[in-house]
Amino acid sequence: MHAIETTNLTRRFGDFVAVNKASISVEKGEVFGFLGPNGSGKTTVIKMLTGILPISEGEARIEGIDVRTNPEEVRERIGYMSQKFSLYDDLTVMENMRFYGKAYGLSGTRLTRKIDQTIEANKLAKYVDRQAGRLSGGWKQRLALGCALMHEPTVLFLDEPTAGIDPVARRQLWDLLFELSGQGITFFVTTHYMDEAERCSHLAYIYYGELIADGTPDSLRALPEVNPSGTRRFEISAPSITSALRKAREMALFRGATVFGRSIHALVDDSVSAEELDSALRGRGVQVEEIRPLIPTLEDAFVELSQRRQTQLEAAL
């Protein structure tokens, strides 16, 4: 049994198809990364899976339970942390925990015990009486996660949980996710951060409602669409990067060139060697510091997939 399984999941808003026949299956205990540009349907999928938004067509099951026919049972099993900070700013940390505990039907000693556990697991002891709105981003997220886990869900949906929090807090949150996934909790996470995507055990990429890639990070990087046969990638460091990029794009030798930090990621024909590239660039007056062969990054993969899809869409018009 899959923790999350959808077949041809579709959502329409009038004539607009927000999600088109998305089929996803996520194993128990996986950290599933769901990626895609803004407005491509990520949140819509989450809302359908959590029962906030009715499903137009197709099926969705959480741990084998149909979301459409048994939303209440599904709700007992899932937790959700939305994009926006989803706690009550004016309530204290303790009040927020009490409320979520009560909302899930906990009471009496069970509630107290669960709150104590949450405080301990998230090291919130110092802040119990502070209003949630006065916590820093990282602590807010910990509290939100703590609240979302109060009722011991087995599947947790996190919609951009790390947007706008600092790198240290981000790292800590992910460490926590892996610890929990080790205990068998399944995570469905959306993110725009590639380093977070790299850490996921399973990724899917949605582009304007269409699921266009699904697999492990390595398998996505190795996709033939990302590595067209007869091509190779180089990373070129140059002191004046913008003029180097401009010149590179004028040269027929380059099939693609993008700036990453202080270097250019270039896609060239298989037959082109590093030395040839070097002399060609110098011939154009570009100063080159170093040229290294490059394995595509996840970002390369997603940019490539998006562009291919975009060309297909435009051709269809």
Binding site: F85, F99, K102, A103
Partner: protein
């Protein structure tokens, strides 16, 4: 086994905490209506008295230095003045001047006694008096016309009858329930109904909208809290606030404005709870529809205006055009005003008012279920 109001306790707990965190909001909501009641109750007198009147008495050989008029015209004017309805603030000496007083709005009533008034009376003909009334305030106009015609009639009778003779029929009006015809007695029970809207409709209308604006609503929707539990949990604290407000208003009415409560206070309280419930249900329904607090506020204004103008608070429902009269049946304040005036002024009890109470309860249930239904279908 499935509790349709699941999560009530959790939501109630949370709402009470919200209120405690922001006591000023509640205090403000409680104090503002009380202030309004004090101001309106003390300021508004719907009885028409001392209407500003300009007089042009052309009947005598008047110059500006003489006392104008003749003995009979002065006698008539004295009676007008003694009626308490008119206050003659100025004598003018031409039609043009009288017109000017009317047009400028300085005079609400202009009285002209023509040059031949005295002469005609002496001859035994009919003497005429022109009473011009500013129709822009229909209440004042109506009263001015009525009083001046009855004075004319009275004066005519007096002239026709022999000394010692009395009119054959005397009408003796007796104002029941409000013997001094005090405006606050009539106004405040209605005002109470309108003011209670402020603490109920408005506060609840904001409560769910706020969650939409903060983005916490989605978090709530994925919990097993059921719509009815959510709505009732949100309503309850404001219901208590409403009861507190009602008690303050009632105490103020009885002991500051000295309005005797002729009926049973318990009955009034019971029926008022029905009214509070309807308003809370309206608030919560508005809350599920509106997407922002400003949108919610606009809905509230509509409810407020309907309750002021179509409930019988300001204008009697009987004189409304048919469509307005029909609408007034759907305005909860209509029933509350019936109840409040009934119990407070006339000493009516459940026997007379049960149907109004039942209608309120029914309205409340229908609206609450509609809100729950909307909430269930809410697609964010």
């Amino acid at each position: 086994m499935r509790n349709p109001a699941r999560g009530f306790g959790a939501i109630f707990y949370k709402e009470v905490r919200h209120m405690r965190r922001d006591p000023m909001a509640i205090l403000f909501a409680l104090v503002l209506p009380v202030l309004q009641m004090i101001i309106l109750g003390a300021a508004i007198d719907t009885n028409i008295r001392q209407v500003r009147t300009a007089v042009y008495d052309a009947s005598g050989s008047a110059t500006q230095t003489d006392t104008p008029g003749t003995a009979s015209s002065r006698a008539f004017l004295d009676r007008l003045r003694n009626s308490d309805t008119f206050r003659v603030y100025k004598f003018v000496y031409s039609d043009a001047e009288l017109n000017e007083e009317m047009i400028s709005g300085r005079a609400s009533v202009g009285i002209k006694i023509p040059i031949d008034f005295d002469r005609k009376l002496l001859r035994g003909d009919q003497g005429q008096v022109l009473v011009m009334v500013d129709g822009s305030d229909s209440n004042v106009a109506g009263q001015a016309v009525n009083v001046s015609s009855s004075l004319g009639l009275d004066e005519s009778l007096r002239r026709m009858m022999a000394p010692g003779q009395t009119p054959s029929i005397e009408v003796r009006p007796r104002m029941m329930f409000n013997p001094d015809s005090r405006s606050p007695n009539f106004l405040l029970p209605g005002l109470m109904s309108v003011l209670l809207i402020m603490v109920t409709v408005m506060l609840t209308a904001f409560s769910i909208v706020r969650e939409k604006e903060r983005g916490t609503i989605e978090q709530l929707l994925v919990t097993p809290v059921r719509p009815l539990g959510l709505l009732l949990g949100k309503i309850m604290p404001y219901f208590v606030t409403g009861v507190v407000e009602f008690s303050i208003i009632l105490i103020l009415m009885r002991f500051a404005f000295m309005i005797p409560i002729h009926g049973n206070v318990i009955v009034l309280g019971l029926l008022t709870m029905g009214y509070l419930f309807v308003n809370l249900a309206i608030g919560i329904l508005v809350s599920t529809k509106a997407n922002s607090q400003s949108e919610a506020l606009q809905f509230c204004m509509v409810v407020m205006l309907l309750s002021i103008f179509l409930s019988g608070f300001m204008f009697p429902r009987e004189t409304m055009p048919l469509w307005a009269y029909l609408i007034s049946h759907f305005v909860p304040a209509t029933y509350m005003i019936k109840i409040a005036r009934g119990v407070i002024l006339r000493g009516a009890g459940l026997q007379e008012l049960w149907s109004s109470g039942l209608i309120l309860l029914g309205m409340g249930i229908v609206l609450l279920l509609a809100a729950a239904k909307r909430f269930q279908n809410m697609t964010v």
